[in-house]
Symmetry: C2
Subunit: 187 residues, 2 copies
Amino acid sequence: MSASKRDELVQKALKAFYRDGFHALGMDALAKETGVSKTAIYKHFRTKEELILATLRLRDEQFRNWMIRRVEALADSPRGRLLAVFDVLAEWFAEPEYRSCMFIKASSEYQDRTHPIHGVAAEHKKLLLAYFEKLAGEAGAKAPKRLAGQILLLKEGAIVLAHLHDPDAIVADARAAAEDLLKAAGV
Amino acid sequence: MSASKRDELVQKALKAFYRDGFHALGMDALAKETGVSKTAIYKHFRTKEELILATLRLRDEQFRNWMIRRVEALADSPRGRLLAVFDVLAEWFAEPEYRSCMFIKASSEYQDRTHPIHGVAAEHKKLLLAYFEKLAGEAGAKAPKRLAGQILLLKEGAIVLAHLHDPDAIVADARAAAEDLLKAAGV
DNA sequence: AATCTCCGATACTGATCGGTAAATGTAGAA
DNA sequence: TTCTACATTTACCGATCAGTATCGGAGATT
């Protein structure tokens, strides 16, 4: 299998795991869906867990790239970008395939904090937090770390609730909250 | 099986599903753990899904009762109670068995919005939202619905992140954010 | 005491789980 | 053309999945 075939497999597996869940999707079904036989899959990934880790690493890269690019396309100022986070979330929630956050789901199914999958999920959120912290610092917030943490709290809450309730109402509340928090942080 | 035996089974199943996840825990393992044979379980629940629904309904009742009682024990005023929500969360996060929210996990594993399990999860969050809205109204907030939604956002975000990062830091950020949002709502 | 009734434990169903051994196909080199 | 080497498919492994048929044994009825 060529490197590009492998990437294609991981990309398709990503979609399938996101749609069905990690335990719910078996390797036979995955092979059928991707068109890659199980033997060929296991040539490149020693276990199902390793394949899942590869999909999560791809998702981390894709999601953060997408979010940051969209945020920077929507606003120029650091303050504007902190608020644009919620406009980008609104775009995401509006996708018909939206099904919450893959990392939240991963950490739900692999709950042990020492589990590698749990660790990748935690790391993904840390990297987003670091981005928010950079924006908060540039915006001149009194306590950039705290503001970044609060934006992340709103973002994660919105992701969970948009999956359960009305996404538009959720994101409106979250954005309004972010505005209040920015003001409170002197931004 | 007596009614109390049935309750005991649901209680034990609740613990087990919360610990292991819904797909990950099989009925054989559940029977062994609860000490109730599969036949006896299926006498009272036609399918695994029905048992899961029963555990979620019990969890909903137990969790909301517990949270409301603790909130009302910690503070007298509506404003104090809205903030006390985060002190109660801190208590929860400190439990060694803490593993995020059972309803978030349920909606992760059963993602289809038309699925009964997904519906029970959505309903649980709606009931908590209604409680927050009542407190926000009593506290004299300008827009009680919005404030309640924002408190819920912070709560859900905190639940998710406390499972991934440091719970103490998360809950501190969430509580500080809630204070700012209360002030912005004129409370 | 003898019989009846019904609950639950044992043991099983076919399907599917993650993972692999063996067989087949296919390409290039000699 | 024939051999080699590798990639891929088919068929399989024991274990476990959700769910059930069977049968023994305890309690109630006569």
